[in-house]
Structure formats: structure tokens, C-alpha cells
């Protein structure tokens, strides 16, 4: 058993709140904040529900601080499901049995990371420092949401945390690697974003007609590596043809 696990067990668990999200979903809220311990509990409850299925539960959506449980009220009612979820949410967080670790190559700066210089200036550092700090991070997929494959990571080091843009950009490129607030992100599809763009990866976390269609799972570990822009271009062609590009490391 890891010391981290013992530490979590020793602390009494804050009670969860069960909130109705309409008539066919319940939000199990562990915290109101971005909170690593809460996210561990979210992912633990998610694993439990995947293993010990409750009749009527149709799908679960983990986020940083809550688990959204969709259900069919024709199979199980709100009160019965709330009772079961409340009991499961009280259980101590078991260590994840299998943790996958991915290494994702990133081309930083220049046209692929248009905010790198500004981020460096704001944080009184050089662009190389920023890249070094971002690459040194050991991240966990806290949730995937908003659009397909948009992976929100926890584990951003304190010195890289800065407020999001006042005016979000309406279009940012596919594969954008960015930071925003206390979060780091791997964005899959082109789309709007208010985060700071550090670089791009060729890795598609969502790609139709590829097995698997979705690469990352909530709870996976992620590290980044630096590639030059020429390598990015080669990897991007290979990824378009269906290669996964991200390396699966021994965990």
C-alpha cells in the first residue's frame, strides 16, 4: 500500500452531496473546488460503478469534483439510487488497480504555441523555462469534457498557474496543448478556448475509424516530451493516417 493511500485513509472523508440534475441524472459532488483528493474520489466512485453495475445507471461522467450519474428513472427511482450512491461515495478511495501512463510529444512555441512568449513574460521566465516546467510535470486526466477528447489534466505546477484570457479565442487549432488557471489541457478538435496556448501535439485523443476511438481515459497519467516542428509535421501525417503517436509507458 502506498503512503499516499494511507494518508488519504487517515483523514475523515468530507461528506458528498447528491444533487438532482433533472429527472434522469444525479450529480455526486465531492468538492466545489479543483481538488486532487476530490478528483480521486470521483474516479474511485466511477471505477466502482463500472465494476459493480447498478441496474438503471446508463452512463457516468467524471469531472474534477463531481461524478454525473445518468440513469433511467423507469428502472430505478431518485431516492433508491441516491441511497446506493451515498453509500458507495462514503467508501475509502482504493488505489487504482491499473494506471496507464502516456507520453505525448509536443511542438512548443512559434506558430504552434502562440502564447508561449507572453506566458514567459508574465511569469518572468524564458520560454525555455516554461517548456522545461511544463514537460517536467506529471499529470493525471482529471476529466474529459466539453468537446470530444478535450482532456483536462491535474498536476500543473504552481509556478505555471495564471488566469485565463479575458477574451476567449473563437478558434484554436486541433491538438492544442494549453494551460488555464490551475489546469493543463490536451485539446483534440479545433475550437474556442480561453486558455494559454503553449504548443501542439499530433496525438488525436479522439479519432473516428481508429481503434481505440478515444485514446485517454479519466484517471490515466500523462507526461509530455518535446519535439521540433519538423517532427510534429511528420507525426501529424502519420496520426492522420490512424497512428496513435502517443507512447504507452510501463506504469
Amino acid at each position: 500500500m502506498r503512503p499516499e493511500f494511507l494518508r488519504i485513509m487517515a483523514k475523515p472523508l468530507a461528506p458528498s452531496r447528491l444533487l438532482p440534475s433533472g429527472d434522469s441524472a444525479i450529480t455526486v459532488e465531492f468538492s466545489r473546488n479543483v481538488d486532487d483528493a476530490a478528483n480521486q474520489r470521483v474516479l474511485a466512485l466511477d471505477r466502482t460503478l463500472a465494476r459493480d453495475r447498478i441496474a438503471g445507471v446508463t452512463e457516468t461522467v467524471p469531472t474534477y469534483r463531481s461524478l454525473l450519474v445518468h440513469y433511467d428513472p423507469l428502472v430505478i427511482g431518485f431516492d433508491a439510487l441516491s441511497e446506493k450512491l451515498a453509500a458507495l461515495a462514503k467508501l475509502p478511495v482504493p488505489p487504482a488497480t491499473i494506471t496507464r501512463r502516456w507520453r505525448i510529444p509536443v511542438a512548443y512555441g512559434g506558430e504552434h504555441g502562440i502564447d508561449l512568449e507572453d506566458v514567459a513574460k508574465t511569469l518572468n521566465a524564458t520560454p525555455d523555462d516554461i517548456v522545461a516546467r511544463h514537460v517536467a510535470g506529471d499529470y493525471r486526466v482529471a476529466m474529459i469534457g466539453f468537446t470530444p477528447g478535450w482532456s483536462y489534466l491535474s498536476g500543473l505546477e504552481d509556478s505555471l498557474q495564471m488566469p485565463r484570457l479575458q477574451n476567449p479565442r473563437l478558434l484554436t487549432p486541433a491538438g492544442t496543448i494549453s494551460i488555464g488557471g490551475v489546469q493543463a489541457g490536451v485539446q483534440c478538435l479545433a475550437g474556442p478556448s480561453g486558455w494559454h496556448l503553449l504548443g501542439r501535439t499530433a496525438v488525436r485523443t479522439y479519432q473516428l475509424h481508429r481503434q481505440p476511438t478515444f485514446l485517454l481515459e479519466p484517471g490515466d497519467r500523462v507526461t509530455f516530451s518535446v519535439v521540433d516542428h519538423k517532427t510534429f509535421a511528420e507525426q501529424d501525417r502519420a496520426a492522420a493516417a490512424g497512428e496513435i503517436i502517443a507512447e504507452l509507458m510501463a506504469s
Binding site: 433533472g22 445518468h70 474556442p192 473516428l208
Partner: protein, 351 residues
């Protein structure tokens, strides 16, 4: 095999079905028809299972032509002028287009979306168990985008089955029922009361992702940023400007604004059909009532096939003429303005 060729079609028209639930944990929203009851009624009329892929037609007009054979179709949902070679076509009835004939549809009246079901369904490649268009995710078949003039759908040849009609209960003009939460505690009692007591209108800057509401300004107790949290169809989130946004079928799967309430499942389609600019109200109910309403809604869809009737020729003409007369020349400009403007930033920004 016949084809249905799109001669002209307005924006916000796409192939939709029951959607693709099951991958929201990867950020993939289920999408699917805005008004499931209307989709189901149109499908049942042509002998399809209720959530077969059909054409969801937005507030503007359209014209579709049968090619290489006859095509049997049925219209349900928002009323509009409809004719085949100047012969009026009734809603909630099946009808067959002979090879080469065109179905011409006007602007929607008193609603936003009509459903054109095709006997045998739209042919396409199912992705995650659905043909529903989700342009953002590159999903949908045969085209992963809204329909355009020049598109062609492969469809079955008309079977020649007798035409059918169905009597649907007229849509109640009752308040839209909501359950408070999940973040109603981010709002004071005065604001919850204001939300429930106000008359609201759907803004013209609305789309399949979200409907913006105009009316009161709802203030938060602790600011408008919460840590991102899962969303459902009908989540009513309140961004910083205090104007609520109701999340619709193409919503983001997570969002970072407090959600004051959620439209109940049974009223979602009725809400989706409210035209921009028309006043309506919300009403808070309890969980037991919401789930009872859902059971009744599911039962209504399940019993649609039992309510089909044979068509008498005078039925058809009366109904169609009535529809045509109601229309007159006074097309609501407000209806027609909906869905022209891209999504408001609040519904499309990650947090």
C-alpha cells in the same frame, strides 16, 4: 433504391435520430432530435421504429424531390405550409411522393422544428449507434453536417402501404416544468423567485447547443465561475451576464457556470419548439412529479403505433386546408429570425 434530393433547405436542418448516448465521459454529447415525440410520430406513421433517423427541418423552408422511384414520407412537429405539386400535404399523416415529385415546405409556424420521416429510414453508416449529425465532432451520416441544397439521401422505395394518420394531443401552452438544481444554492431565494416568476423569451441567437433566454437578470451569490461540472439536456446555466442559457442536444458535456434548474425530460421537446420571441414561464415541480411525467411521456411514445388510423380522403384535405388557411400570408418574422447567428460565446467556451 430511391433517392430524396434536397433542392433547397434552410440552415439548422440535419439528419437526427434518438442520438448516441454512452460516450459523454469522453466529451461526446449524444445529440439527436430536439423534439423526440414529433420524431417518433413521424416515424411511426411510415412504419419505422420511433427513433429512426429522419430529417429535422429548422425554422426555414425546404424542398425535396423523389428520384429513381417513389418515396413514402410523413411530417410531424412544427406546422408549416406543405405541398406536393400544389396539392396541400397534411401533418401527422403519411403521403407518397411519386418519382420526380417535390415536397415543398414553408417557414415553421408556432414551433421551430418539423420532422420528415422516410419509410425505411435514412440510409447511412451508423457511428456509435446513430446517424445523428454532430458537426463539431465530425459525426452524422450520410453527411456529417447540416443538410445543403444538392445533397441526396438514399432511401427505400415506397412500399405502397395504405397511408395513415394519427391524432396527437395539441401541445399545451402550459409553463415549462423544471427541477431546481444542481447548483440552485449558488442563487439567493430572491433570484430563484425571480427566475420562476419572470416571463422569458428565447433569443434569436440560439441553436442546437443552447437557447439563450431574455427576460430578468439573475445574479449569483458567489460569482459566476464554478469548477466545471457535467451537463444534461435542459440544464439551465447562468453565465456572468445573468441571462440564462438552456443547454440543448448539442451542448458541451461539461460546463463551468452554475445551473439554477433543469427542464424536465417530458417537457424538453415542447421547450425546444418554443419560437424565438414568444413569452413563456417556468414552473418548479418535485422529483416524483417529474419522473411520473417522464413515465407518461415514454408511454405516449410506446403507444403511438396503436393510435394510427386509416386515412379517409376528406380527412386529408380538411386537415391540409386548415393548415394552409391558418398560415395565410402572415409568416412570423420572429420565427424566421431564429438560428441565424452563431452560438453565443458562453455556450461554446471551455472553462
Amino acid at each position: 433504391m430511391s433517392r430524396l434530393a434536397v433542392t433547397s433547405i434552410g440552415p439548422a436542418s440535419s439528419v437526427q435520430d434518438g442520438g448516441r448516448p454512452g460516450s459523454q465521459r469522453y466529451g461526446l454529447v449524444p445529440s439527436g432530435a430536439m423534439d423526440r415525440l414529433a420524431l417518433a410520430a413521424a416515424n411511426v406513421l411510415v412504419g419505422n421504429p420511433p427513433f429512426t433517423a429522419a430529417i429535422e427541418i429548422g425554422p426555414f423552408g425546404a424542398s425535396l424531390t423523389a428520384r429513381d422511384g417513389a418515396v413514402r414520407v410523413a411530417l410531424s412537429g412544427a406546422r408549416r405550409n406543405a405541398d406536393i405539386a400544389k396539392r396541400p400535404v397534411a401533418f401527422d399523416s403519411s403521403v407518397t411522393l411519386a418519382d420526380g415529385e417535390s415536397l415543398t415546405l414553408g417557414f415553421a409556424r408556432g414551433g421551430s422544428f418539423s420532422y420528415l420521416a422516410i419509410e425505411g429510414g435514412v440510409q447511412g453508416e451508423s457511428m456509435f449507434g446513430s446517424l445523428a449529425v454532430n458537426a463539431r465532432a465530425g459525426l452524422g451520416s450520410p453527411y456529417p453536417r447540416p443538410l445543403q441544397a444538392g445533397d441526396e439521401l438514399r432511401v427505400a422505395d415506397a412500399s405502397g402501404a395504405a397511408e395513415r394518420r394519427i391524432d396527437l394531443a395539441s401541445v399545451a401552452d402550459a409553463p415549462i416544468r423544471v427541477l431546481l438544481g444542481p447548483q440552485d444554492d449558488e442563487f439567493g431565494d430572491d433570484m430563484k423567485k425571480l427566475f420562476l416568476d419572470s416571463e422569458w423569451k428565447i433569443s434569436a441567437t440560439s441553436d442546437r447547443m443552447g437557447y439563450r433566454l431574455e427576460g430578468a437578470v439573475i445574479r449569483h451569490l458567489h460569482g459566476h465561475n464554478i469548477v466545471s461540472d457535467g451537463t444534461v439536456n435542459g440544464s439551465i446555466q447562468v453565465p456572468g451576464n445573468g441571462s440564462p442559457i438552456v443547454l440543448m442536444r448539442d451542448r458541451g458535456t461539461s460546463g463551468g457556470y452554475p445551473k439554477i434548474a433543469t427542464v424536465i425530460s417530458a417537457d424538453f421537446g415542447r421547450f425546444a419548439q418554443i419560437p424565438a420571441g414568444r413569452g413563456f414561464r417556468f414552473k418548479a415541480i418535485g422529483m416524483a412529479e417529474a419522473q411520473e411525467a417522464l413515465r407518461n411521456f415514454v408511454k405516449e411514445i410506446a403507444t403511438l403505433p396503436d393510435r394510427l388510423r386509416d386515412i379517409e380522403s376528406f380527412d386529408l384535405n380538411l386537415e391540409a386546408l386548415q393548415d394552409a388557411n391558418v398560415a395565410g400570408s402572415a409568416i412570423s418574422a420572429v420565427d424566421a429570425q431564429t438560428w441565424q447567428v452563431p452560438s453565443p460565446a458562453e455556450t461554446v467556451t471551455p472553462d
